[in-house]
Amino acid sequence: MLAAADIHVRRAGRRLLTGVRVCVEPGETVALIGPNGAGKSTLLHVLSGAIRPDYGSVTLNRTPLTALDDKEVARHRAVLPQTPELGFPLTVRDVVALGRSPHAGRSSRSADARIIAAAMDETGIGHLRHRLYPTLSGGERQRVHLARVLAQVADGDDQADGRGRYLLLDEPTNNLDIAHQQHAIETGLRFSRRGNGVVVVLHDPNLAAGYADRIVVLVGGAVLTEGPPEAVVTEELLREAFGVRAMVHRNPSSGRPFMVPNHGSSAMTPDSRAKSQRSSPCSSP
């Protein structure tokens, strides 16, 4: 289990997180949602160990991260960054192979090669393996990093302790079209179904509601509520957390909730929307 207990983070006099408690079990996908600036990315960085909380601690299988070796931690959890940037001409395979670096000297070359190939197949970038990273599109780059973090926590011949690994995904759907958004989320989901934990920061409550086992709603640096999608994604919560009016329906096939922004009931009436469409510069003769 990867767990953060009573986390407080202050930076430059601002409280970024106050008393946050969050955990993820093997086999579970937890979505972090909340408005911009709610502290989602900060919490993810605390969970990863990159940000040391001012108070509180993060534990991996009941051992504090601070008591573990950095490489040891890196073999058990990987982090997909929000804005991956790299201007140097590494090939796609080179970048994915970097994921295996915490296993250097422990995992065999052939096992690494197999894991790297499998990770590239899983994210659908096998055909790009020899391309130089800077020549890729934003969506392709995102998938390269997804493959890299999958390779990082894949079991080689060096560790078969049967314990879950953890993926922390910071807005993995950024820059992706709808199909690739779904693909990225499903990749994470498959990973969790293999007995691993996933924490994913999402902007779209519908993606969270559609895929997560549990949703944690963060507002103003504190947990507003958490629970299964049916309990969390409600009209009241969307108004309280995001300040939006929305209707919540049920997906008839999965039974999961989804929201539809209620444009009509706010400033824009159907009539004014029709008018604005008519007067848009593109449609004028």
Partner: protein, 363 residues
């Protein structure tokens, strides 16, 4: 319709480009050997390759007896130490350049950016202008060593200052490191300008020559203590190749991959300061090798530091020896400062890279 001459932006370093990598390495090695041979053979005193080999075999075998072969002094006292210095300095500048470009994640970084070159230059200029006073203060230092020792110390001290400015709470901001380097370089530049202003004609000539760099006048007793200082870091830096690859992704990403990022940064800056400080102490400031060589290598084999650093060492050595050949033969009997030669070749080449880069190529 745009036509891209780049074949899908592939790198030779990729498995399929294996033969390309081998070709590049072979060409560099041949170039390096040729440059070394040229450095020994070419010069005002013409020597046959056979004689040179016999002389070199003489030191290796320590045969003694036979008496001095023709040109033995020229080779052993002048050309060999000069060639060794050129090789070491070329390798050190190029490897340090590659490492710092990786650390700063900026292909335009130059070894001088951490302040080591201008720090060394300021100290050397001080030693040139106030040499008499310094020698009176440290009488145990032989006169020939005052300037190199001052330069080396100055380079390290200024790098340390830059590094401390950029560090807070045990963390070093790489962006601040770069900016602090720029600022400290400007301050040191002003100091050098002031020294130039107060210097007399002879000092001015010395200063000028030092600022433009030269491999000339090196002797064994200056070379031998400096060689390990220059070469050991250049050989050690490639051991950090994986770390540098990870740092290319970003510091947080390297941290997430389990790399000891802060320790890494200290090692990289420290090793670069030693290598470049040692080099500048003996040769003065030689521009463009550290900037252009890693660029060229990345263009040929991709960005993996495990390839870039060793190949940069090889190419840097070769190019500096070739530049030195030009410097000492282009204006016979006088000698051009080598910095003029490297900048003359490196500048236009770099511009070409920039223009080329704008056409969709990558660094």
């Amino acid at each position: 319709m745009t036509v891209s001459p780049e074949p899908q932006g592939r790198a030779l370093g990729s498995p399929r480009g294996g033969t390309g990598l081998l070709t590049v390495a072979t060409v560099f090695a041949v170039l390096w050997l040729a440059a070394f041979a040229g450095a020994l053979l070419w010069g005002p005193v013409p020597l046959a390759p056979g004689d040179v080999l016999a002389i070199l075999a003489g030191i290796a075998g320590d045969s003694g007896g036979a008496g001095p072969a023709p040109g033995e002094t020229v080779i052993l006292a002048i050309r060999l130490p000069r060639a060794l210095l050129g090789m070491a300095v070329g390798a050190a500048l190029a490897v340090a350049g590659a490492a710092l470009q990786g650390l700063f994640r900026n292909p335009l970084a130059d070894p001088g950016l951490i302040g080591v070159s201008t720090g060394a230059a300021l100290a050397a200029a001080t030693a040139i202008v106030f040499g008499g006073t310094i020698m009176a203060a440290v009488p145990f230092l032989s006169p020939g060593l005052v300037i190199p020792v001052a330069a080396f110390t100055g380079g390290l001290v200024v790098t340390l200052v830059v590094y401390r400015i950029a560090s807070r709470d045990g963390r070093t901001e790489v962006a601040t490191l770069l900016l602090a380097g720029v600022a400290v370089n400007a301050i040191a530049g002003a100091g050098i300008g002031l020294l130039v202003f107060v210097s007399n004609d002879q000092e001015l000539r010395d200063l000028n020559f030092w600022m433009l760099g030269s491999l000339g006048g090196v002797t064994w007793d200056r070379l031998l203590p400096a060689l390990p200082i220059i070469l050991a870091p250049a050989l050690a830096l490639p051991l950090l190749a994986r770390h540098l690859d990870a740092l290319l992704l970003g510091e947080t990403e390297a941290l997430h991959l389990g790399f000891p990022v802060e320790r890494c940064k200290r090692w990289i800056v420290g090793l670069c300061a030693l290598a470049v400080g040692g080099a500048v102490a003996l040769t003065g400031v030689i521009g463009f090798i550290g900037l252009v060589v890693p660029h060229l290598v990345r263009l040929l084999v991709g960005a993996r530091h495990g390839l870039v650093m060793p190949l940069s060492a090889l190419l840097g050595s070769a190019l500096l020896l070739i530049a030195d050949l030009v410097a000492r033969t282009a204006a016979l009997p006088a000698e051009l400062p080598i910095g003029i030669v490297t900048s003359c070749i490196g500048g236009p080449f770099f511009l070409w890279l920039l223009v080329r880069g704008r056409h969709g190529g990558t660094w």
